[in-house]
Each structure stands twice: as structure tokens, then as C-alpha cells.
């Protein structure tokens, strides 16, 4: 009999098949993922989850019988029926008896097919065909960091890096090469010496000489010698950094309702998930503003309310300041997302525009502006300038000139995702100018 241990075999044998299955059901899976993401809190977006897809398209048809006009059931556990008894037909087309359901069950199962997508699968479908604009530019930039990696062994080093296994290997081969007598050989001689002790003096003489020689040799050739020592060697290597910082700018003045903040939060979370998929390291900076701006932590950003006027430029100033202090544009990929209800002090508009155009956009990879409004905004029409806020008008001009700048409006939770998609839709034409 053979025993074979397969546990260490590469797993994921079904991976290729699973890929094929997902590809096959792509459209339906995509739709299901969209649906599923509507109900999910955006914070849980990147956790794995069960989805169910209709079985059409992944159905495996075979010829099957319908139930036919006559069925024979043989069942165990008769209690009090006797031959010739009539039983009322159970409701639900004779499925009550549980048998013969073979056909029925088979079909029922096929209505929807439920299974679990892993986090990666979910996200890759969810964010499929979205692209971070201008990603390529900084990737080739000389933003390098040093890393350490293992590089063989060395004969010098600190005790902490002693490679025990390798050291003993060297020691073993040295001992073998120099023919260091083994302990067992010594033991053997000692035993023979003890046996010969009383009987044969010549033999005793010879053996003790031999034993002496052995012991001497063992003492000369040490078990572990300094030349055996090996240390793990590390070498430095340049590590290209892909890191990004994401600025979340939000107007927190009185005019922003909870609903609007919720919309903004969802948008920011989406952006965060998206960035973490593309960059190893993503930092987030939260800047909120009324007529003054300040950097805050996440909790304060979303929770606490402020009162005051609205000056968007203050937030931009703050952002510039943070960039200058902490995020060198040569090293960091900078993304910014601004959410606001569109209110701004009219006198502030020119300055806002100037800041954005001349100072911020040149530093950024991408700047997205989302204008949030109440759930019924479209029907009210209280916003001046034919439904366009003052900030919107200010920015609209920018959008035309600068590809890095995009803006969208959103008023309802379920639109967030599609707005997000529009903002990050893969832009085919852009590839030419990268490089």
C-alpha cells in the first residue's frame, strides 16, 4: 500500500474552472454585484459576499421527463394504510410526500444560483473597467525607497542573523571531511577496553593508546568552529513606491444636510476602496470647511456640524498647505475629491478658480467634484441660474480646459455608484499622451 500526502499540493485546482464560470456568467454576475452593492453599507463594500444570479446561461440542460400521467412511489414507514386506501392528493402538486420530487426539485434549484464571491472577485467586478486617470505618470517617476531583501549567506554578521541550519551544515561537512571521530567510536573503544581490562594486558595497552589518540583528535577538531558560522545576508534594493494620498474636501456649513453628507461619505468611501486596490499605500486627509477650513480626523469630518458661511477657497488653501508640509508631489500621487452643495460666497469664486487652476490641478493626478443635493432637488428648482449653483458655474469652465478635473451631480444614494463610474470611466484616448 502507498500513502501519499497530497496536502501540500498546490491548491486552487478549481481556480481556472471558477474563472471560466465567472466569465461565462459575467453579465449576470455584474448585474448581481451592482444590485448587491446598493444594499451594502459602503464600508463593507470590500468584504466577500454572497450573490445570486439567475440560472439562465449557466444552465446545464439535459433531456428530462416531466412528471407524466402515472407515478409509482415506494415509501418506507407505513403506519396504518392498508391496501386499497385512497389518499387525498397533497397540495403543491404531490410534493408533500417528498419523493418523486426529483424532477420538481431539479427545476426549483435552477431558478437562481447562489454562491459566494471572494473579496477580490467582488471588487474586480465592481470596479471593472474603471481606471485611475494619469496613473502611469507617477509610476515611472523616480520615487524610490530602499528596501531590504535576503541575499544568501555571509561569514560575518550579528548573532541575531546567525543561520543555524546553514552553520550546522557547514560544521557537519567539515567534521566529515576531517574525519572527526564520532562519540559512538569512542564509546565502542571504551567498552572494549573495559572488557579487555582483566584478560589481556597487551590488548589493554593497545586500546588505551588508540582511545587516547581518538580523544585527542576529537579535542583538536572541534564540533563547532568559528569558520563554520554563517549569517543571513541582506542587501538593500531600491523599491519603487506606489503611494497615494487622497484629499477629501467637504463643505460642512449649515446648508449641508445629513442626507448630503451621507452621499458625500459614500462617494469618499468608494474612492478609498478604489485607491487601495491600485496603490499599496493610501493615506487620507480630511479637510472640512465653512468659511474657515481645517484638517480633521475622519470621525469629526463626518459627524460634527459647524455653522458659518461658505468659502471654498479656504479648503483649497488648507490642502495646498498640507501638500507643502507633508506630501511632496514628486513622491506622492495626489487625488482629491470635493463634495459640496454648491454654495459659495460669490466674491470667493474667482479666487477659488484661480487656486484650483494654477496651484492645485498641476499638483494633482485627479480632482473630482461632486455636487450633492437633497433627494428631491430636481423637482424643487430653488437653485439659481437654471439649476446651477455658483460653484458649479465656476468649475464648469475649468472642466473644459482641464482633463484632470471632472464634476458630477448626485442627489440620490443609488446614483452614487454610476456617478462614480462616470468619473473614473477608462478613457481610451488618453494613453497617447502619457509618457
Amino acid at each position: 500500500m502507498h500513502i501519499v500526502d497530497r496536502r501540500l499540493n498546490p491548491g486552487g485546482k478549481s481556480f481556472a474552472n471558477r474563472q471560466r464560470f465567472l466569465r461565462r456568467a459575467k453579465d449576470m454576475v455584474e448585474k448581481a454585484v451592482r444590485e448587491a452593492s446598493k444594499d451594502r453599507a459602503i464600508g463593507d463594500l470590500d468584504s466577500p459576499g454572497e450573490i445570486s444570479i439567475p440560472s439562465e446561461g449557466t444552465r446545464e440542460p439535459t433531456f428530462r421527463h416531466t412528471q407524466g400521467s402515472r407515478r409509482d412511489l415506494v415509501l418506507p414507514g407505513n403506519k396504518d394504510y392498508v391496501e386499497g386506501d385512497l389518499i387525498e392528493r397533497p397540495r403543491g402538486e404531490g410534493d408533500g410526500d417528498g419523493s418523486g420530487g426529483q424532477v420538481g426539485r431539479g427545476d426549483g434549484q435552477e431558478d437562481a444560483f447562489r454562491f459566494i464571491l471572494t473579496r477580490d472577485e467582488f471588487l474586480s467586478i465592481f470596479l471593472d473597467d474603471l481606471e485611475l486617470p494619469d496613473l502611469a505618470k507617477r509610476r515611472v517617476a523616480q520615487t524610490e525607497k530602499e528596501g531590504l531583501r535576503r541575499a544568501g549567506y555571509t561569514t560575518t554578521g550579528t548573532p541575531a542573523n546567525l543561520a543555524l541550519h546553514r552553520t550546522l551544515q557547514t560544521s557537519l561537512s567539515r567534521r566529515i571531511a576531517l574525519k572527526r571521530p564520532k562519540q559512538s567510536a569512542v564509546d565502542d573503544l571504551e567498552r572494549r577496553l573495559a572488557e579487555a581490562q582483566s584478560r589481556d594486558e597487551v590488548e589493554v595497552e593497545r586500546l588505551s593508546a588508540e582511545l587516547e589518540a581518538l580523544r585527542h583528535k576529537r579535542a583538536r577538531i572541534s564540533y563547532l568552529d568559528p569558520i563554520d558560522l554563517r549569517y543571513r545576508r541582506f542587501e538593500r534594493f531600491p523599491k519603487p513606491v506606489t503611494q497615494a494620498v487622497m484629499f477629501c474636501l467637504m463643505d460642512v456649513s449649515g446648508s449641508m444636510t445629513e442626507h448630503m453628507k451621507d452621499l458625500a461619505k459614500r462617494f469618499f468611501m468608494l474612492l478609498h476602496v478604489f485607491l487601495t486596490r491600485r496603490y499599496k499605500r493610501v493615506e487620507i486627509v480630511f479637510i472640512r470647511h465653512t468659511d474657515r477650513a481645517g484638517e480633521v480626523d475622519e470621525d469629526t469630518f463626518f459627524r460634527s456640524a459647524e455653522t458659518g458661511g461658505t468659502m471654498v477657497s479656504s479648503a483649497l488653501q488648507e490642502m495646498l498647505k498640507v501638500i507643502r508640509e507633508r506630501y511632496d508631489p514628486g513622491v506622492w500621487n495626489i487625488y482629491a475629491a470635493q463634495a459640496s452643495d454648491g454654495d459659495n460666497l460669490s466674491s470667493d469664486n474667482p479666487q477659488t478658480r484661480e487656486l484650483l487652476q494654477n496651484h492645485i490641478l498641476p499638483l494633482c493626478q485627479y480632482f473630482a467634484y461632486v455636487e450633492v443635493s437633497g433627494p428631491n432637488a430636481e423637482t424643487h428648482g430653488y437653485v439659481p441660474h437654471h439649476g446651477q449653483s455658483s460653484l458649479w458655474l465656476t468649475y464648469a469652465a475649468l472642466q473644459k480646459e482641464n482633463e484632470k478635473f471632472q464634476m458630477r451631480r448626485v442627489s440620490r444614494r443609488e446614483h452614487i455608484y454610476s456617478v462614480f463610474r462616470q468619473l473614473f470611466q477608462r478613457r481610451v484616448a488618453k494613453t497617447a499622451e502619457v509618457g
Binding site: 502507498h2 500513502i3 478549481s14 471560466r20 464560470f21 433531456f63 412511489l73 414507514g77 394504510y81 389518499i87
Partner: protein
């Protein structure tokens, strides 16, 4: 004779497995007279067990999305904790491969080894169905050939093309089985070589000049219908076989893929027909083997109790009105029938002597069982060996559900008048001919529009389910390349009940 304990506690290592195997082998071969293929025991993780599930239990299989779907299904069920995994999977190969899970306790490993590596193994080696239809020596090689061949096709002709072909072939898989032996026995080793030879021959005789020779006008003589059908081997129930040999528009590689799917379907065919017997045999063997190990003091009382718990769970048969009733449990039915045979052979009652004169009281139950395992399949086994006593124990009854009657009728119960009826109708439920639709290719118009004609013989008004039938016929038409007509014909009256006509999608 009291031996030493093979193991203590739950833990095991390879030494334990070897000891268990040897101890079990000793009893199996010397006392029960089992004769098995050499064993190969492979230890796998739960993850790998799920993988194996998805590809119908085989260690290597070609790639197809449906296996991914199956994997997702099982995984979902397993992760939600709705269902545990099987403790083992056993493959009908020589040497016989049993997969056991690392999570199993030492007792479970003993049970699994006794069950799979001896019970199933003996059954595979001796049952006439397996001997006739499978080639345990060649199966793994053939699967690896199939996997490589299909991967190769994917590279050459594209994923989409191969996937479409496999979809179609899978849909027709149940119609890709020979139910009666053809002249030549299968030899999977030769298959691979044959394909190789065929390719070489093609390359050797390739001569571009032939292309330029003007074709002769076909003799327009119409062959007589009967003669034509005879030449094509019609009627033919093995649709995949027919397509492989006769479909006019398939390329050679497509025929080979159809052949692969067909041969694999054929390999699994005996398993469908011997579910009750196969599981019954394995369960009966492990019951005897573990019992003996316990008697001889090789496993402790605690382990034996653990074994009995699993054994009892596996052979539980809920009554029809229990919420957990889910059809008849093949383990329970097979095991009970075999225990019953043991009883009949050893301590027959008057009734048994009347019903089973040829085995009652002969004294050596293993000899009888070995004969049974070798020469029956589920339906014949039940028809022959279901005893009145077992029918009473199970309290079986027969219900007739006739659509035209307002009520269901109990037509037989476990009494003198009912035994034969029950035995016959239970046996009929395990008859492949009963539950698989009887579909045959009856004619093809080779000289005219090449329409393929199939008949479905309808028994008891069991028509084909429409959506499925339409999809399968679509696949069939695509493979055939021309129109396909399926007529549903009542087996009694020869009346055409329904016609399905399908055209191929392209060209």
C-alpha cells in the same frame, strides 16, 4: 486472540495509517475473502476535497465552467455549514485510490479505509458492470490525455469554440452511453495511441494534388431506407457515438472531444446503476471489519462507539412522513439488504427457505455476498433479494399516483399479497431504463436535406420537459450541422404526441 490497540485517541500519523491498513487487510483478505486492487491512500485537505467534488471526484479533469459552478455551489453549502464534506472519495482505478481527509480522527480513518479501500475496492474489481465498462488500469492515463488534449484544442481553436463544443457534448452526455456491449472491448490505453497514429497517417498521406482532381458526380441512386439505416447503424441510442462517427460537418478534433466526453460518461455509467449495491457492499464490509477489529482488541471501546455513531448516521432511513425524509437512503437499503442476506444464510426462517431456497441456510454468507456483488446491479439485486422480512421491517408501501384519478391509491403494503408488488416496483425505480428518457436516432436523410430524425418513446405520459429539451436539441443541431427533428411517440399506441424541430444556429 487479542491484539494490541492500533492507535489511541484521535491523533494519527502515517505509521498509524499503515498499521490500520495492514490490520484491516489481514481481516479482509483472510476472514472475509475480499479480493482487492492494490491500495493507494492519499491524504488531502478540506479545500482539496472541495476541488475533487467539483470535478466529479476525479483527481484530474479537463477544464470547463460547469465544474467551476459546481465548486461554487458546494463551497457555498459547505461554508454555510449546511453540509459536511464526505469523509472520503474513492476512485475506481488500479491501484485503487482513496482520498481521506486530514481532519478525520483515527477512528474515522479506520472506517474510511475499511469502507473505501476494501469495500468499494472489492466491488469495483468484481462487479460485472465495472468489469464490462471500465478500465481501471487506464483511466488516470486517459484522463490526463483528455485534459491535455482539450487544453491543446483550446490553444489551437480558442476557448470559446471548445467551450461551445463541450457544452453541447455535456448536454448529450446521458445519451452518450452504450447500454449493450459493442463488439470490441474498451481499452483506454489504445485510445491515445490510436489518435496519435491517425494523426501521423494523415500527415504521411497528405497530398495537395488530390484537391485538384475533379470530383465524380455522385450516383444519385437512392439507397433503400432499410439498407441505409443498417449501414449507419440505426437506430442508435448513443447519440454522441453517432455524431462522432457520422456528423458531416465536425472537424477531427471535435470528434475526438466528443469521444472523450462519451468515454468518460461510459466510465461513470456503472456507478449510476450500482449505487445501492456499491454503498451497501462498502458499508457492510466496514461494519464487519470494524466489528472484528474491536473483537480482537485492536480498537478500543471508545473508538468503537465513535464508529457506531457515524455508522448509524450513515445508515439512517427516516420514514416517509419525517421532515428529514429525502428519498430512500442507498447506504441504508444496501446495508440492510446485505445484513438480511447474512441472516438468511445463517439463520433462515421457514419463510426464507420458501423465498430463497438456493441460499437459505447454506452457512457461508461471504460466499453468497461475493457472488451477489459480482453479478447483480441495483434493480436485479432488489428484484432478487428483497426479503419479506425486510419489507416488514421497513414497513414499505406502494402508492400509485395517477393523474386521472382524484386520489392517490395505496396499491400494496407489507403483507403477503404485497411483497411481490413492492419488490417489483422498488426494483423498477432503480432501473436505468425507467428513469432515463428513451431517445434514439432513427433516421437521417443523407442524400437530401440531411435532416436527423430522433424518436422519444413516451411511457406513462412522461413527455420531455420543454425548456431543457429545446436547449439540448439546439446543441444537437449545432453539432449535426443540419435540421434535427425529435418526435415524441407514445410507446403503447405508436401515436406521435409532439414534434420538435430545430435548426442549427450558424450556416
Amino acid at each position: 486472540m487479542r491484539g494490541e490497540l492500533l492507535y489511541e485517541g484521535k491523533d494519527w500519523d502515517f505509521g498509524t495509517i499503515q498499521r490500520i491498513h495492514d490490520a484491516v487487510a489481514d481481516i479482509a483478505h483472510k476472514e472475509l475473502g475480499l479480493d482487492t486492487f492494490a491500495n493507494q491512500i492519499e491524504i488531502i485537505t478540506a479545500e482539496q476535497m472541495l476541488d475533487a467534488y467539483a470535478s466529479t471526484g476525479m483527481p484530474l479533469f479537463y477544464k470547463h465552467w460547469s465544474f467551476g459552478k459546481r465548486f461554487a455551489q458546494h463551497e457555498g453549502i459547505y461554508r454555510m455549514g449546511l453540509q459536511g464534506l464526505a469523509y472520503e472519495i474513492v476512485i475506481n482505478a488500479d491501484p485503487c485510490i482513496s482520498y481521506i481527509m486530514e481532519e478525520n480522527s483515527a477512528t474515522m480513518q479506520t472506517l474510511v479505509i475499511a469502507h473505501a479501500a476494501f469495500g468499494h475496492n472489492h466491488f469495483f474489481k468484481h462487479n460485472y458492470q465495472f468489469r464490462q465498462w471500465t478500465d481501471p488500469e487506464g483511466i488516470l492515463d486517459y484522463l490526463s490525455f483528455a485534459k491535455a488534449y482539450i487544453a491543446n484544442c483550446e490553444e489551437r481553436y480558442g476557448h470559446a469554440e471548445v467551450e461551445r463544443l463541450l457544452d453541447a457534448a455535456h448536454a448529450l452526455m446521458p445519451q452518450g452511453i452504450d447500454r449493450y456491449p459493442r463488439k470490441r472491448p474498451l481499452n483506454l490505453h489504445m485510445e491515445e495511441k490510436r489518435e496519435q497514429d491517425r494523426k501521423e497517417e494523415r500527415e504521411r498521406v497528405y497530398d495537395d494534388l488530390w484537391r485538384t482532381v475533379p470530383g465524380r458526380a455522385r450516383g444519385a441512386k437512392q439507397m433503400a431506407g432499410d439498407k441505409r439505416r443498417a449501414l449507419l447503424g440505426l437506430p442508435q441510442e448513443n447519440i454522441l457515438y453517432f455524431l462522432e462517427k457520422a456528423a458531416p460537418r465536425l472537424k477531427p478534433w471535435q470528434r475526438e472531444v466528443l469521444r472523450i466526453v462519451r468515454l468518460i460518461a461510459q466510465y461513470f455509467y456503472p456507478q449510476q446503476q450500482t449505487k445501492v449495491m456499491n454503498e451497501g457492499c462498502a458499508t457492510y464490509c466496514h461494519y464487519r471489519l470494524l466489528g472484528r477489529l474491536h473483537e480482537t482488541g485492536q480498537i478500543g471501546d471508545g473508538s468503537f462507539l465513535e464508529f457506531l455513531t457515524s455508522h448509524t448516521n450513515a445508515t439512517r432511513q427516516p420514514f416517509y412522513d419525517s421532515p428529514s425524509y429525502n428519498g430512500i437512503n442507498p447506504y441504508a437499503l444496501g446495508f440492510d439488504m446485505m445484513r438480511d442476506i447474512e441472516r438468511i444464510v445463517r439463520e433462515p426462517t421457514e419463510e426464507d427457505r420458501y423465498w430463497f431456497p438456493e441460499i437459505a441456510g447454506t452457512g457461508d454468507e461471504m460466499e453468497v455476498l461475493r457472488h451477489v456483488w459480482a453479478n447483480y446491479r441495483d434493480d436485479s439485486f432488489i428484484a432478487q433479494f428483497m426479503s419479506p422480512r425486510l419489507i416488514r421491517n421497513w414497513r414499505l408501501f406502494h402508492v400509485v399516483d395517477d393523474r386521472e384519478q382524484p386520489n392517490l391509491e395505496v396499491s400494496a403494503i407489507h403483507n403477503e399479497r404485497g411483497y411481490r408488488d413492492l419488490r417489483r416496483s422498488l426494483s423498477a425505480q432503480y432501473d436505468v431504463g425507467g428513469y432515463a428518457p428513451d431517445i434514439q436516432i432513427v433516421d437521417v436523410d443523407l442524400a437530401g436535406n440531411r435532416k436527423l430524425v430522433l424518436h422519444h418513446r413516451v411511457r406513462d405520459g412522461k413527455m420531455l420537459e420543454l425548456t431543457n429539451a429545446a436547449m439540448v436539441l439546439g446543441h444537437l443541431a449545432n453539432l449535426w450541422g443540419y435540421e434535427v427533428l425529435l418526435q415524441e411517440i407514445d410507446a403503447g399506441t405508436e401515436q406521435v404526441l409532439k414534434e420538435h424541430m430545430v435548426r442549427p444556429e450558424q450556416g
